[in-house]
Subunit: 398 residues, 2 copies
Amino acid sequence: MTRALAGPYATLLLAGLGAEVIKVEDPRGGDLARENSPYVGRDGVTVERAHADDVSISHLSRARGKQGVSLNLKAPGAQQLFQDLCRNADIVVENFTAGTADRLGVGYAAAREANPAIVYCSLSGFGADAPEGGKAMDVIIQALSGAMYTSGDPDAPPVRMGIPIADMLAPVFAVIGILAALEQRHRTGQGQHIDVSMLGALTSFVAIENWAALAAAGMPARTGLTVQRLSPFGVFECADGYVALVAVHEKLARGLFQAMGAPEMSDDPRFASRDARVANAVALEAKIAAWSRTLPTAEAVRLLEAQGVPAAPVRHPEEALTDPRVMARVETMAIAHPRYPHQADLRTSGIPIRFSEARTGFDETLPIAIGEHNRQIYGDLLGYDAARLEQLAKQGVI
Amino acid sequence: MTRALAGPYATLLLAGLGAEVIKVEDPRGGDLARENSPYVGRDGVTVERAHADDVSISHLSRARGKQGVSLNLKAPGAQQLFQDLCRNADIVVENFTAGTADRLGVGYAAAREANPAIVYCSLSGFGADAPEGGKAMDVIIQALSGAMYTSGDPDAPPVRMGIPIADMLAPVFAVIGILAALEQRHRTGQGQHIDVSMLGALTSFVAIENWAALAAAGMPARTGLTVQRLSPFGVFECADGYVALVAVHEKLARGLFQAMGAPEMSDDPRFASRDARVANAVALEAKIAAWSRTLPTAEAVRLLEAQGVPAAPVRHPEEALTDPRVMARVETMAIAHPRYPHQADLRTSGIPIRFSEARTGFDETLPIAIGEHNRQIYGDLLGYDAARLEQLAKQGVI
């Protein structure tokens, strides 16, 4: 029972690990991600939906490998269907606003009543115990988490991260919680409620750096493209892009000076030791930038790597997603509209885990329409007969 | 067998979920994170280490709840100790450069020989199958993943994320892989090798956005503090800081105009519909900024929330880490030097998952010195007698 990104990404990860996932959607509209432009379908990628079976690329990416049923949770009798689903399930995931699932009669209490072994995971902005408040969008959580003031120059505005990190981090922790609860269930036979907050997940990541201690020690925390207390460390401009390099230790610094064609810098008292390099970081960074700005990025990387200095080009997402290493490991993967597979060349997230004795991946299944798999799930799995399905549809329950 | 951040964060999460974690360190130096300034000890927080039992705050944060043994993997006989540890363990985690663990005789093959049920997880920059290359630092992986070109303004330099996201994301997926392998082990009785790449984990996050499709549809991907295709959406300057707000839908946009004291904007043809607001995003954002810049952030948030518009102040990390909601849920938590608990007020990451039938958290244990718990682990757990321990120490094995 998930919508948007946080919840669907949690169940996507579970699907990729081998779970059979059933996506439950309101027959009156379904997951709002279905309305995210751009779409893909018989005409390829389009900004607007032109045909009934065009699907949002967001939906295609997030719902792949899942079966889909329709269920209007506000309709009389919906709770019965929900509990029947729970009796045939191991895990429930929902990301309604805190309190909503309980109010609709599909909270943990209802699930447990149907199946005491159920593992029930709630994903919300501020936690299941938060007083009901506004919706928790990614940008709101990024703002509250402190993350926006960890990037960028010390005096610059905050930085909104272009990856929806708050939406994606909470579900990763949700999956950890779910798998940990399954492990506990092997010992107790009982399920439990897992409660993950977007704000908590992202703040816990921010908290791994010792912000207060850095401040207490007089060390700047927010340092932009380079980190002067580790100088030379960071990102430098090239003729056609940017290069990232790390030369914190003595041997690497000497390698950098060699790569720069300036081995004599090793004897310059300003740069001859780690402490000196940190103390003269501004002058050192200026020298590096004056060198790197004259070179294509690939040439700078080549020269640095030849000296054993860790270095990399700063790549754009399109290039990163098609890195041969990443494609070979299925950390990114092709997706296609099941009916028009050759109409577009699309690539999305894979499961970034390799198992020696198992494979990750997704079935070809996709709920193109809401309730696409009602017959398979309500009919074949729950055993509802055709007459009952017809009546439920007529009553607007499914 | 983990060092720096990626590996230790994986085992920290496992410790927080209840695992008994044994940190294996080289007696000749140990985890380099022990050398990260600042330190904490009898004199409080200091930039330099003054006393033998001062500990790096990085080490304090990452090694809490773990026992520590010393083991020189290059010493003759070390493999015997490693295999004895494996016979008493469920999980091994290592983050050496790819290929190193095998070369040292402590790779998956050696672990499985000792214990076929062992789940063995390798964390590396580019995957266990990568040809041996340079070290994979966080900034190098950020550069390669495309993440640096997702934040910031369209024509601005790339943005280095201040959170070590590459170092932290791979271990979260490692824990998912480990727990999934434990689930599989309940069915097969066998362990397996888990292989997680820093580049793959971060690239898979970047890949959730449909970069190629956005480009194909002519939509800008990198949009800085606001997203004009969702206008009004993003971060706006206030008199004393910044506010994040989301007013994509009709009702929210009207609420925003009310909050701005300009309800007539709802009738302005430039702003009267969602399509119009997107088409006139530049003018709309200028009007919002002209309003927000006159107000303290708290006042802007108050006015927006009163109209039901999702809004939040952009907070600094220190403020975010002490959010009462986050502290109450132990998503951040206090840490202290075990011997000098009152000398500093430090706060770090908790486990951002709440269980109804279990608690997360950390024992008071900390390997202050390398090999702190040799007697408990090699003696009590493995049953080595005092004479043997003495000899191993004398030979430099432990």
